[in-house]
Amino acid sequence: MTDFKIREIMVPLSEYATVREGATLLEAVLALEKAQEEFEHYQYRHRAILVLNRAGRVVGKLSQLDVLRALEPEDASNAELKQLMRFGFSPEFIRGFRKRKRLDGVPLQNLCTKAAGLKVEAFMQTPSEGEYVEVDASLDMAIHQLVVGNHLSLLVTEGEAIVGILRLTDVFAAVFHLMKECQLT
């Protein structure tokens, strides 16, 4: 039976899309595209960008959802939507309200132009305690962290340094492989 090591299935930090603090969302998206082109032999695409501080340490993670969140008009109507849920309006009512606001709102193209210049810090997620896994930890421990924390990836540490990203998709591929092996034996 194959004994998968985290080190073997993680994506090394050097191969991952990264940007520095202060970068714009457009720069982050371009970094993602570049990383994808350079490592296009991967079956699965990168789905996030890491944000590094001046010292090169990971301070945040920007997912595809975070980038899309930047397109949401963070204005009074958005706050209103959150409030509507608290007042107990039905999902249909809220959908209708959202639709009205969208119709009255800014076209998507304009939103994209505006979002492109926003700073990554405003949308990145700061990794929580459960998003780090030691490079020597067992794979089942990593699976536990992914499942319990509902994460799409974990940051792999070696001592103080972050050395790679353990992606859900790679863990899934490993587990899938093991399942098939079990079936054969």
Binding site: Q83, F87, G88, F89, S90
Partner: protein, 473 residues
């Protein structure tokens, strides 16, 4: 005054514990709401009538300028110029229906104020909480100037100035200034200033948000400062008229008042007033140069100036009507502020309903046709167009309405008929329909109320606090 200060701090901390989830801090609010030296300036008073059960119990409380009627207990609380009006409390043997079952009250209902600080607040009606019908509780709560607690047991909450909680049980909530909440039961909820929310689960949901910046002209409240704006200016300008009413022991009763009408001795009545039969004027109401037709009422903290109300009008707690002409059976909801001008009057047609916490403030004449429903902030004809509708049209809504700042979902018919039934109940309770034999109400029952006064320690550590006082028949 050490004990009073320590009591105030204790109450504020208790409220804060309840509001920790909302991260709402009442300490800076509580400390600046009323200077503590005011607490020794005013006596408290209570009414005795043969028509209402009497049981009052005050322990370790400060009650400056507050009024009590019926059955009430205060414990470790500060009540400043607050009215606890227990004339609608339910009594032993009364029944209520819940889930198809009829349940009997096992004892007389009591308003129970514990660990709370209420400022110029009106507490009225009876507990509408099916889980607590014998005890109308107000615990761990801070309420600010001119708040209304109407049939609403409350625990661990904050009410901003001019906020109203109506027929709603509330736990751990912060209700912003000039917000109106009628929602059955809510918990851990924060309402921004100027939120008007009326909900009947399964029937309708009505939410209106006053425009924030425009509302600040009328009521502006920040922690550490007294409330300010048009509402406060209006009330401050008439404060002196109340001093005479409270200072003089035997006031001359105005002449020409019909025997079946009731004018509370703590109301201000200025010339020239016309009071018709079955009119009810509650304490702290203010009337000047106005006509109140048969069965009209002016509830607590109402101001009616230079206006004509044709009859069977309900002017709910805290509503103000200035330079206006109202047809018959016009309902003006809690804390509404309707202001015409001497040269451009406001006219509201018969049968219309003005939603609680509505502001109409005009500098051009305005006419609202009969049987209309009006809500929100109206200072122009354009506002009226957005914030009003014939009642019949509103009753036809079946689904959704998005209109200006109003959001409505459910049955318009349930909303309108619910309102109309409630208005009829109010008229009945107030004695507006009394025919000489039947339908006696507050206007007839509240005519002969004896009033006694009680006072706090004048000096020393307990200055401002009242000794334990138990008053029973």
């Amino acid at each position: 005054m050490k004990a009073l200060k320590s009591l105030l701090d204790r109450i504020a901390l208790r409220v804060n514990i309840n509001l920790r989830e909302l991260e709402f801090d009442v300490v800076p609010i509580a400390r600046h709401l009323v200077p503590l030296k005011q607490m020794t300036k005013f006596y408290a008073f209570y009414g005795i009538t043969p028509n209402h059960p009497l049981s009052l119990e005050f322990r370790h409380s400060s009650l400056a300028g507050s009024y009590f009627l019926g059955r009430c207990r205060t414990n470790h609380s500060i009540l400043y110029k607050t009215d606890i009006r227990g004339d609608e409390l339910q009594i032993k043997g009364d029944t209520f229906t819940f889930g198809g079952h009829s349940i009997t009250l096992s004892e007389d209902e009591m308003i129970d104020v514990q660990d709370s600080f209420l400022v110029k607040t009106l507490v009225h009606s009876y507990s509408h909480d099916p889980e607590s019908r014998e005890r109308f509780f107000i615990t761990n709560t801070l309420s600010c100037h001119y708040a209304n607690i109407h049939g609403s047991p409350i625990d661990g909450s904050f009410l901003g100035p001019f906020a109203t909680v109506d027929l709603t049980t509330m736990y751990d909530c912060a209700i912003g200034a000039y917000s109106y909440i009628q929602a059955g039961e809510i918990g851990h909820f924060q309402a921004e200033p100027g939120t008007v929310w009326a909900r009947s689960r399964g029937d309708f949901n009505f939410v209106y948000k006053h425009p924030v910046e425009r509302l600040k002209t009328y009521i502006h409240f920040v922690p550490g400062k007294a409330p300010s704006g048009v509402f406060m200016d209006f009330l401050e300008a008439r404060k002196k008229d109340f001093e005479r009413v409270f200072d003089v022991v035997n006031l001359q009763k105005p002449k020409g008042i019909p025997a079946n009408a009731s004018l509370d001795r703590y109301a201000v009545i200025k010339p020239k007033m016309h009071i018709a039969e079955n009119v009810l004027v509650a304490q702290r109401a203010y009337l000047e140069n106005s006509w109140l037709g048969k069965g009209a009422n002016a509830q607590e903290n109402c101001y009616i100036l230079n206006s004509r109300l044709e009859g069977y009008n309900v002017t709910a707690h805290g509503a103000k009507i200035i330079d206006a002409d109202l047809g018959r059976r016009v309902f003006v909801g809690f804390n509404s502020f309707l202001r015409g001008r001497p040269d451009c009057r406001l006219a509201i047609g018969s049968g219309s309903i003005v939603m609680p916490h509505t502001i109409i403030d005009i500098d051009q004449p305005m006419h609202i046709p009969e049987d209309h429903f009006v809500w929100g902030m109206i200072t122009s004809a354009a506002d009226l167009e957005t914030n009003s509708m014939p009642l019949a049209d509103f009753a036809r809504i079946d689904g959704r309405l998005y209109r200006g700042n109003l959001l409505f979902e459910g049955s318009g018919e349930a909303f309108v008929t619910g309102f109309q039934k409630r208005i009829e109940h109010i008229l009945l309770d107030n004695g507006a329909l009394f025919d000489g034999k039947r339908y006696k109400g507050h206007a007839q029952r509240n005519q002969n109320i004896s009033v006694n006064t009680i006072q706090p320690y004048p000096e020393g550590r307990l200055k401002g606090l009242y000794p334990t006082i138990i008053i029973q028949p």
